[in-house]
């Protein structure tokens, strides 16, 4: 019986009868990139577009994000969709701190990326002021296709990330610059 199920391509490695050898980095990257559990941190308009992304037509589950993890402990990527007010900033940081490494962050929409049209006293001017961000998705709000593209970009990152990256001094310095231990 033929099926349409696609099997991912194996990474480069040595192959012989009954064995296949490759680097651990590549295997882990491959596994991670096909099972990214999102933590939707939806606050406003972009959250509705994120709902569209999860719903039947755009179907985020195609990319290994079948299960939106509402617990930060079990999530791989934090999707910050919507305006983050200054009142909300400590909560966002708390959620980020509760996530286990490795963790990736997508800033969905103009507000999360830079404050957007809300250059006001009450709005945080971009979430990168409190937590490090991996991918920015522009748009006010971005279309579901754009959100999917952002998630695919994170997949690229996870796929190619070295296992030692999170222990590197650069990464530690990055976290230290956000006062995260």
């Amino acid at each position: 019986m033929t099926t349409d199920v696609k099997i991912v391509e194996a990474p480069d490695g040595y192959q012989g009868s009954g064995f296949f050898a490759t680097s651990f980095d590549k295997v882990v990257g491959l596994a991670r990139s096909h099972s990214l559990w999102p933590l939707p941190f939806a606050t406003s308009c972009c959250g509705i577009e994120f709902m569209s992304t999860m719903a039947a037509r755009y179907d985020l589950a195609r990319f290994g994000s079948e299960r939106p993890s509402f617990s930060p402990r079990q999530a791989d990527m934090l999707l910050v969709a919507g305006t983050i007010a200054k009142k909300m900033a400590p909560v966002l940081k708390q959620v980020y701190l509760q996530m286990a490494e490795p963790r990736w962050v997508i800033a969905i929409g103009a507000c999360a990326s830079s404050g957007g049209i809300f250059d006001t006293y009450s709005v945080l001017q971009g979430i990168d002021r409190v937590i490090p961000v991996d991918v920015y998705v522009p748009g006010c709000p971005p279309r579901p296709e754009q959100i999917l593209e952002g998630i695919l970009q994170v997949r690229e990152l996870t796929h190619n990330e070295s296992l030692r990256r999170r222990n590197s001094s650069e990464y530690q310095a990055l976290l230290a610059s956000y006062n995260i231990q």
């Binding site: 939707p40 959250g47 509705i48 569209s52 039947a56 909300m88 009450s122």
Partner: protein, 410 residues
């Protein structure tokens, strides 16, 4: 319940080893601001006695974006973008509500065709709003299927929006003085198609829930509010109608030719979650009725008013006609002053009476603009509605109130 609780006063009490009686010990539960069941960000600090809620207090403002302050710095046509982001589930209603407020201030008479197009779009937006609320209510009671099924139809409403203004969610639709463009043939076809394809889906959605034993048990008698309390708390819209008061802005003070259409105002009896669900469902049917009538009787004629000082001229004119170019420049640069005046205009938003209180001092921007946001006003009744129920009922109650954080926090 509070009186009977005896809890250890401090660690010293415990250390003494006295027999401390634990009777109805109260716990504090922090629901939100990022709890997945809150659909938006507001915090509820609930005092619980076991699984019963004894008291609750909300904290809001987690997405306060200072709309009213921004509005004081923007020319009138730029404020439309702010209204989009208030109740983002039904942006066109906010857009047109704002346009009608300005038109009232400027005393512009909008042609019938534009009014009908507005009605069609506002009713589509109402359907889109109610789909979200009722779909999510299903999710919260454990039925994800209904949500996925009707959400597909919501995408079709988005397609209609896209045909008219190019955007899906933050539509920024229409202009002060009418519509930005006429309905094209694709849009008309898509609306007609929607009118045909949505009723069977809605019927199936209703079949899934209306007489579903589990759903009825979860929602009947949950989160009820009497008509008196609802009015005291400033409820409007479907939530007030579910409590039995037939107040609808579309009927009480008709705007945009709503008086031309025949439709019913559904009312509930008990003001509970089930009634709210049923009222919203019925309103979707009524919205379809209105759209059908408007499509059938869509008048011919211009789609914008003759108000060159405020309505951006068509682009072709701007390139060829000196006068149009001057008006275009003046409007875009915000050089045209509005008359002095004070206007309150209300429309029936997805959640109730959405009011715009505009004070113009004759400048290019409003002197003060206040939004009467229905969510903000009725959400304060939430603790009263869920005291005495369980935490799962509180979630369902919140879901059926359809509190939109963007509208709540301005």
């Amino acid at each position: 319940m509070t009186e009977t609780s005896v809890a250890p006063q401090n660690n010293a009490d415990l250390a003494k080893g006295d027999q401390v009686q634990y009777v109805n010990e109260l716990t504090t539960l922090n629901l939100g601001p990022t709890h997945p069941a809150t659909h938006g960000i507001f915090q509820n600090i609930l005092t619980m006695d076991g699984e019963k809620i004894v008291a609750g207090e909300q904290t809001v403002g987690y997405i306060h974006r200072a709309f009213e302050k921004i509005a004081e710095r923007r020319p009138f046509y730029q404020i439309t973008t702010l209204t989009d982001r208030m109740n983002y589930c039904s942006s066109p209603i906010n857009n047109f509500g704002w346009h009608m407020t300005v038109e009232k201030l400027l005393s512009i008479e909008v042609p019938k065709r534009a009014q009908y197009i507005r009605v069609i779009l506002m009713e589509l937006a109402r359907i889109a709003d109610h789909i979200i609320c009722n779909g999510i209510l299903g999710v919260d009671t454990g039925a994800f299927t209904g949500f996925l099924y009707v959400y597909e139809k919501r995408e079709e409403i988005y397609e209609i929006y896209e045909e008219i203004c190019g955007a899906r969610l933050t539509t920024n639709m229409g202009r002060v003085g009418g519509m930005e463009r006429d309905l094209n043939s694709t849009a008309i076809n898509k609306i007609n198609e929607f009118l045909k394809s949505f009723p069977p889906v809605l019927k199936e959605f209703e079949r899934l829930f209306n007489r579903n034993r589990i759903f009825m048990d979860r929602t009947i008698g949950v989160g009820g509010i009497s008509a008196e309390r609802a009015m005291s708390y400033g409820f409007t819209g479907p939530n007030l109608r579910a409590a039995g008061v037939d107040y609808d802005v579309r009927v009480m003070s008709p705007y945009s030719s709503y008086e031309d259409f025949e439709f019913d105002i559904p009312v509930g009896q008990h003001g509970d979650t089930y009634d709210r669900f049923m009222v919203r469902n019925e309103e979707m049917w009524q919205s379809l009725r209105i759209i059908e009538q408007a499509m059938k009787n869509l008048p011919e004629g211009p789609y914008y008013a003759d108000a060159p000082e405020f309505y951006l001229p068509p682009k072709q004119e701007v390139y060829r006609n000196m006068e149009a170019l001057i008006y275009h420049f003046k409007i875009v640069m915000g050089e045209i002053d509005a008359p002095i005046g004070e206007v309150y205009h209300a429309v029936e938003g997805g959640n109730g009476e959405l009011g715009f209180y505009l004070i113009s001092d004759g400048g290019r921007t409003p002197y003060r603009l206040h939004f009467r946001r229905p969510c903000f006003i009725y959400y304060q009744a939430y603790p009263e509605m869920c005291v005495g129920s369980t935490i799962s009922d509180a979630i369902v109650t919140m879901s059926s109130l359809n509190v939109i954080a963007g509208e709540l926090d301005a």
